[in-house]
């Protein structure tokens, strides 16, 4: 169980500043997810922890040891790559056993351990195959097995599920979650998929353009996003973001009038999640707009209403039968949250 600390770490590529100076502490045994769009610096951060990239300035400590100058092989870490990084000329068994071979474990012990791990990921019948003979899901499990065959201090995972088809991804998520529970190793996980982040993480670091924008538990990030970027990024379907102004204790925009506890001001963005809205009858409707589209998801219907520039999505009952262009009435649910953001800075306004 090891803690990882990045202290005042900065990364430049020539003149380009990829990661501005910042610090991050990854606690023992936690499952930290680095989440963000492509190019936000999450993979670079992970590769620095791995030792595959140099740090321009700052320190990385694994445990209590400063590892800046240590090559990857001396950092006692394991990594699962997005494209798996398997050794195509070796069998599955050889792939899994390679880290052990490098550390000088003798063949008998190695084979034993490889078999043990293979059973855990259900690969024991495929040990003699080559990676080219395996399916995507099987290759992914080989990569995983190779990572857990030792007991490293840290697991690093770089979008390991993104090359799998949707269904397999969901299954593997549960597998990873259980594995983490079983092994308890500190894990750093990179993804751009907010669903993966929400379901797997003990904490999420949302990143944008090299900066960590918010570092918090999934629950907190979901219910208290720190700015517009995080608010719009997390949640599927994403949070409704409506531009408007506050007048006389109401947030107003085209077709929208919602009571808020805020002094009058302009340039406000109101955020409310689709599941925090409900469809009501006309009385006291906060939102009035014609229906634009309906999407049946199975257990619910997503109704999008649109009036001019204002577009709002609400999660309604599965048997909803509204017609397109029919006028709809929505209101915030009783227990739901409303978020207010400053339009120009994007930061949250705490009422």
């Amino acid at each position: 169980m090891t803690e990882v600390r990045l202290v005042d770490v900065e990364k430049r590529y020539g003149a380009f500043l990829a990661l501005p100076k910042q610090s991050l502490t990854i606690e023992e045994g936690e499952f930290l997810v680095l989440l963000g769009p492509s190019g936000c610096g999450k993979t670079t951060t992970m590769r620095m922890i791995a030792g595959l990239e140099d740090i321009t300035s700052g320190d990385i400590l694994i445990g209590d040891e400063r590892v800046n100058d240590k090559p990857p092989k001396d950092r006692d870490i394991a990594m699962v790559f997005q494209n798996y990084g398997l050794y195509p000329h070796m069998t599955v068994a050889q792939n899994i056993g390679y880290p052990l071979k490098l550390r000088g474990m003798d063949r008998a012990k190695r084979n034993e351990r490889v078999l043990e791990i293979a059973k855990k990921v259900e690969l024991e019948t495929l040990l003699k195959r080559r990676p080219s003979e395996l399916s995507g899901g099987q290759r992914q499990r080989v990569a995983l097995a190779r990572a857990i065959v030792r007991t490293p201090k840290i697991f690093l995972m770089d979008e390991p599920l993104s090359n799998l088809d949707a269904k397999l991804r969901v299954t593997m998520r549960a597998e990873l979650k259980h594995l983490h529970y079983e092994l308890g190793v500190t894990t750093v996980y990179v993804t751009h998929d907010q669903m993966e982040a929400m379901t797997l993480a003990s904490r999420i670091a949302v990143m944008r353009e090299g900066r960590i924008v918010q570092l918090d538990t999934p629950k907190k990030i979901y219910s208290e996003p720190i700015d517009l970027f995080v608010a719009g990024f997390i949640g599927s379907p994403s949070m409704n973001l409506i531009e408007g102004a506050v007048e006389n204790g109401f947030f107003v925009a085209k077709g929208v009038k919602i009571p808020v506890q805020l002094a009058d001001r302009r340039d406000v963005v109101l955020g409310v999640r689709p599941e925090d809205l409900e469809i009501v009858k006309q009385e006291g409707a906060a939102i009035t707009a014609p229906a634009y589209a309906l999407e049946l998801t199975g257990e619910s219907t997503l109704l999008t209403v649109k009036d001019g520039a204002t577009s709002i999505c609400v999660r309604g009952p599965a048997d909803l039968e509204t017609k397109i262009d029919e006028v709809c009435y929505l209101a915030p649910q009783a227990g739901g949250r409303i978020h207010l953001f400053d339009k120009s800075t994007g930061t949250r306004i705490d009422a």
Binding site: A50, G51, L52, P71, P72, K73, I77, A78, M79, F81, Q82, N83, Y84, G85, L86, Y87, P88, H89, Y98, P99, L102, R103, A143, R146, L156
Partner: protein, 271 residues
């Protein structure tokens, strides 16, 4: 109906192309089997004989010694060039060496230098060192021709290998040299083999340097051909036999690598 015509035309063209490609080779093989008298007529109806081959290997032609020279020169050149080139190719491919682009361009550009411009200094150098007409001299100059090309080819092959497997090995606990040994070399093996054969072919067929730098002892096969021009006239049947000796080993090798041809040789030119 239209399809049929196109198909017939296509087939004809292909056969025509195959004919144009194979005919000179075929004719040479045929001539090598002809008695001297038949060689000077265009007959297909003749009594084949292997006596030409026997003749060229005997005195005074001694093709055998030229075969030996070619084998040694080409073989040693490959044995030296390929390992050195592989290491350099790996470095160019994987490391962000400072000035990498310039160095690589420098290496590449030496390919585009006409052989004549370096044969003069080599001639003078070897003359003063007493190395004219030696195999060592030929090996040295062939290294000049071949090394940049092999670096380029092998780099192309290594570029095509995904870096992931190497990084995984680094994380698994391998040192960089170990990674090259365990991961990169096995994966690049087909490419390195192709490049080696290519290198062998280039050296085997090399003519200019051998022509100028050898006289008697270190003569290689292509130059040996010129020996068959006598005052009496060209001895075509013997020349053809020698030609067969030059081409057969190369053809076998060439066919082996032809699949990788597109990838390796054009790796630099096309993405």
């Amino acid at each position: 109906m239209k399809n049929r015509i196109y198909w017939a035309i296509e087939r004809t063209l292909l056969l025509l192309v195959s004919f144009v490609v194979l005919f000179p080779i075929f004719w040479m093989f045929l001539t090598s089997l002809k008695k001297p008298r038949d060689a000077y007529s265009i007959t297909l109806n003749f009594q084949p004989t292997l006596e030409n081959f026997a003749t060229v290997f005997a005195d005074p032609w001694n093709l055998g010694s030229m075969v030996l020279n070619s084998v040694i020169v080409a073989g040693v050149t490959v044995l030296i060039a390929v390992p050195c080139a592989s290491l350099a190719a790996y470095s160019f491919s994987r490391f962000r060496v400072k000035g990498r682009k310039i160095l690589f361009f420098l290496v590449l550009s030496t390919q585009f230098i006409p052989a004549v411009v370096i044969v003069l200094p080599f001639f003078l150098m070897f003359r003063s060192l007493g190395l004219l007409d030696t195999r060592i001299a030929l090996i040295i100059v062939n290294l000049a021709i071949v090394t940049p090309f092999v670096i380029w080819m092998i780099k192309g092959f290594i570029d095509a290998i995904p870096v992931d497997s190497e990084e995984a090995a680094l994380i698994d606990g391998a040192s960089r040299l170990r990674v090259i040994r365990d991961i990169v070399l096995p994966m690049a093996a087909p490419g390195i083999l192709t490049s080696s054969i290519f290198c062998f072919i280039l050296t085997w067929n090399e003519f200019l340097f051998s022509l100028i730098l050898t006289r008697r002892d270190a003569v290689t096969l292509p130059v040996g051909l010129v020996n068959f021009r006598t005052e009496r006239g060209d001895l075509w049947e013997l020349m053809s036999a020698a030609g067969v000796m030059i081409t057969v080993p190369i053809f076998i090798m060439a066919i082996l690598i032809q699949k990788h041809f597109t990838r390796g040789m054009t790796a630099g030119a096309i993405k």
